[in-house]
């Protein structure tokens, strides 16, 4: 009795340990959809529209990935994750890719055993204050109470920035963007700090956006990008190169509308990218030959995604700034597709 029990226990343990061995891409193809983790709600980056459809900048990246694999941008299961559970959800396999305005940092890359695939949005931490406060610079905030979301890199940057400038502050911790906004509007804090993109998105949704000012200082580098678990390089390559393809497409002027007109282009890289030439580049990662074509066709290039979710047409009205192709004065620069 004793012996057989231990044998069966050993068998169960051995079985559970062997589950996570197969490649994530193969698993995803077999399952029929991409498991993508997004934020619980950040204007422009992830949200739900009136018809209940997931929309946003981060959402569209996952849709492009799904379109590249399945030729269907809707083949994604979105899991909304708070900032405190996002890494656990990724590590445990609840999601296979995290596109959740997450800052790429050294310790997250190494200690948390994540692989960042690139930068989708170069952000920085900013401060928002009421116009009536009469503050025009972050350096005038000495002694202020500041609303901040717990468990984010902004919390550490805030501490570093105030220390470096010899100023003091009183943190008012909140659990998410909505609560921060409420506390800030009630006057429980003088200023609200988070990534500048989110500040712009929050400000535009306020009753009187002109009563609030996003201060000019950007106090940190916040490169936001998608990430996957350590240990599956093939899956990381797929995610990385779908992102690069979107950037290359904008650089080459390929949009979802005009993509078919490039069939007889003289640019060899375009044919390699879209799979319209003789070479099957995508086979190197185990993907369909026209994967990138489908991604751009369904979701659009980087510029289109930006414009739709964050640009003037979205109402959030964030300038492209550094988040523009290097050919247009930005710093988005993809390695060559060859």
């Amino acid at each position: 009795m004793k012996k057989s029990l231990f044998l069966s226990v050993a068998a169960i343990v051995g079985f559970t340990a062997g589950v996570a061995a197969a490649g994530t891409l193969d698993d995803t193809i077999a399952r029929g959809h991409v498991k993508c983790g997004v934020s619980t709600g950040s204007p422009g980056f992830s949200g739900v529209d009136d018809s209940g459809k997931n929309v946003g900048f981060d959402v569209d990246y996952c849709r492009a990935l799904a379109a590249a694999i399945f030729n269907d941008p809707m083949a994604v299961k979105f899991t909304p994750l708070s900032s405190s559970v996002r890494f656990t959800a990724l590590a445990s396999g609840e999601v296979d890719i995290l596109a959740r305005n997450t800052t790429w940092t050294y310790s997250r890359d190494t200690d948390l055993k994540q692989t960042f695939l690139g930068v989708t949005y170069y952000d920085g931490q900013g401060f928002m204050a009421k116009t009536s406060l009469g503050v025009s610079s972050t350096l005038e905030l000495d002694g202020a109470t500041i609303c901040i979301q717990v468990g984010t890199t902004t919390e550490l940057n805030l501490a570093d920035y105030f220390k470096a400038n010899g100023m003091t502050y009183e943190p008012l911790p909140t659990s998410d963007n909505a609560e921060s906004k409420q506390q800030y509007l009630a006057g429980a804090c003088d200023a609200y700090t988070t990534d500048a993109s989110a500040l712009h998105g929050t400000r535009i949704n306020m009753e009187n956006p002109d009563d609030h000012i996003v201060l000019p200082e950007i106090v940190s580098k916040e490169p936001l990008g998608p990430l996957v678990r350590h240990g599956d390089d093939q899956w990381a390559d797929v995610g990385r190169w779908v992102l690069n393809a979107l950037v290359i497409a904008e650089e080459k002027g390929i949009t979802s509308a005009n993509i078919d007109s490039f069939a007889d282009s003289k640019d060899a890289e375009i044919h390699r990218l879209l799979g319209t030439g003789d070479d099957d580049m995508m086979a190197m990662m185990g993907m369909p030959k026209d994967g990138m074509y489908n991604a751009i066709k369904h979701v659009g290039n980087y510029g289109e995604i930006f414009e739709r979710n964050l640009g003037a047409t979205s109402g959030i009205n964030i300038e492209r700034g550094v988040n523009n192709s290097w050919t247009n004065g930005g710093i988005l620069y993809s390695p060559p597709f060859r």
Partner: protein, 404 residues
């Protein structure tokens, strides 16, 4: 006759189940083996799967720089301190809320419980509404609701500014109630304040010995001294006298508005007030019911006998009913104190930095050590609960009827 021997029974394996002498042992041994196997499997599975994800169990992060700030600190802490110290700051914040919450809940609960038995119809019904209201609405809603009230309906510090401010300080310009918390005057311990404290401590000891003497005197001679008034005099007179003799060594520091916030004075944050108040009110409703049941458990004959001796209702309650009711009241109080302590982990809802907020919140997030942090948290709450139970059980023994 004497040659007949009892048959020597040979032990067979089947007797382990068939024989009632062995059966219960067999079942217990099997249950124990299964239990150990399941625990072994759970631990082994966790460790294997963690290894598969490339994660190890490592507590060294507790000695690394935390890098974040905490608003309410009972011990010195800066963002250069370690995660371990941040956890300690959180632990002290948790204990502070639990301690004050338990005291307030007990006082409120005893009043509510007694008043619910009042012969006055309105008072009794009001207390029923109080108890049912707080008992039947989730604690989280009360915490958020009180916090929202404090934040929305009090003025911002800015309203105190200017020649004709919208809001003003209360209690002779000493206390400011703002939507960030309340600022009270705080004492400054000047030279000689040490002697004053010693004198105060001696007064307290004197009160204790006086009351013991008065009790003995009453038991021996039946003479009843005015205990309350004499105690009050011992409490105030020497300390006040020496306060002026020593030249007012303790002065008050008043809060004043500077920049964005009030400076100096004692700052009690809204998050702390909301959390403590909500926990106290919620728990007091349960304690009220326990007190009521304790009083009802004492037979009516006791009250009638006491009043036939000529005792007034207040004395009947204090001298006859409550001391006996304590035997019924104290044991279920433990679980209410424990509940209050554990419920304080909802602090994050109002941004109060308790141990769940520091160790289980920010530290967990910044280091990604979920398993380690959660194990430490569970260990902490387990220890606190066991210690609280042990202390109250110790007191409980002194309330029970001796020799039972």
């Amino acid at each position: 006759m004497s040659s007949v021997k009892a048959p020597v029974e040979k032990f067979r394996l089947g007797m382990l189940l068939g024989d009632t002498r062995y059966r219960s042992t067999t079942v217990q041994v099997i249950a124990f083996i299964i239990f150990v196997a399941v625990v072994f499997w759970l631990v082994d599975n966790t460790v294997k799967n963690l290894a598969l994800l490339g994660k190890d169990v490592d507590f060294s992060y507790l000695w690394m720089r935390a890098g974040y700030d905490i608003n309410q600190r009972l011990i010195p802490y800066t963002n250069d301190s370690t995660h371990g110290r941040a956890a300690l700051v959180g632990i002290l914040n948790t204990l502070l809320v639990a301690f004050i919450g338990c005291i307030v809940a007990t006082i409120l609960g005893v009043f509510v419980g007694i008043l619910r038995l009042s012969k006055n119809w309105i008072v009794a019904k009001l207390m029923s509404v109080y108890i049912e209201g707080f008992r039947n609405i989730p604690i989280l809603l009360w915490i958020v609701m009180i916090f929202a009230l404090l934040t929305e309906f009090t003025p911002a510090p800015k309203a105190f500014k200017g020649a004709d401010p919208e809001a003003s300080m209360i209690f002779f310009q000493s206390t400011a109630i703002t939507n960030r918390g309340a600022y009270f005057p705080s004492p400054i311990w000047g030279e000689g304040s040490m002697y004053l404290l010693i004198i105060f401590a001696v007064s307290l000891a004197a009160i204790f010995f006086f009351r013991r003497y008065a009790k003995k005197l009453q038991e021996e001679t039946g003479k009843n001294l005015p205990k309350f008034w004499i105690s009050l005099a011992i409490f105030f007179v020497p300390t006040t006298l020496f306060y002026f003799l020593l030249g007012s060594p303790i002065t008050l520091e008043y809060p004043y508005l500077k920049g964005f916030n009030f400076k100096d004075g004692l700052y009690v944050r809204n998050s702390f007030i909301a959390l403590t108040l909500a926990l106290s009110l919620y728990t007091s409703a349960f304690i009220g019911e326990i007190v009521r049941s304790g009083i009802l458990a004492i037979s009516k004959g006791q009250t009638e006998a006491a009043s036939s001796l000529g005792l007034r209702p207040g004395r009947i309650m204090n001298l006859i009913i409550l001391p006996q009711a304590l035997r019924v009241i104290v044991p279920p109080m433990i679980s209410n104190y424990l509940n209050l302590t554990k419920n304080s982990s909802l602090a994050i809802a109002v941004g109060y930095m308790d141990v769940r907020g520091t160790l289980g919140g920010i530290t967990l997030n910044q280091t990604g050590r979920e398993l380690e942090s959660m194990l430490l948290l569970m260990g902490f709450y387990l220890c606190v609960s066991l210690i609280v139970s042990a202390i109250i059980n110790y007191f409980n023994r002194s309330f029970q009827i001796k020799g039972m």
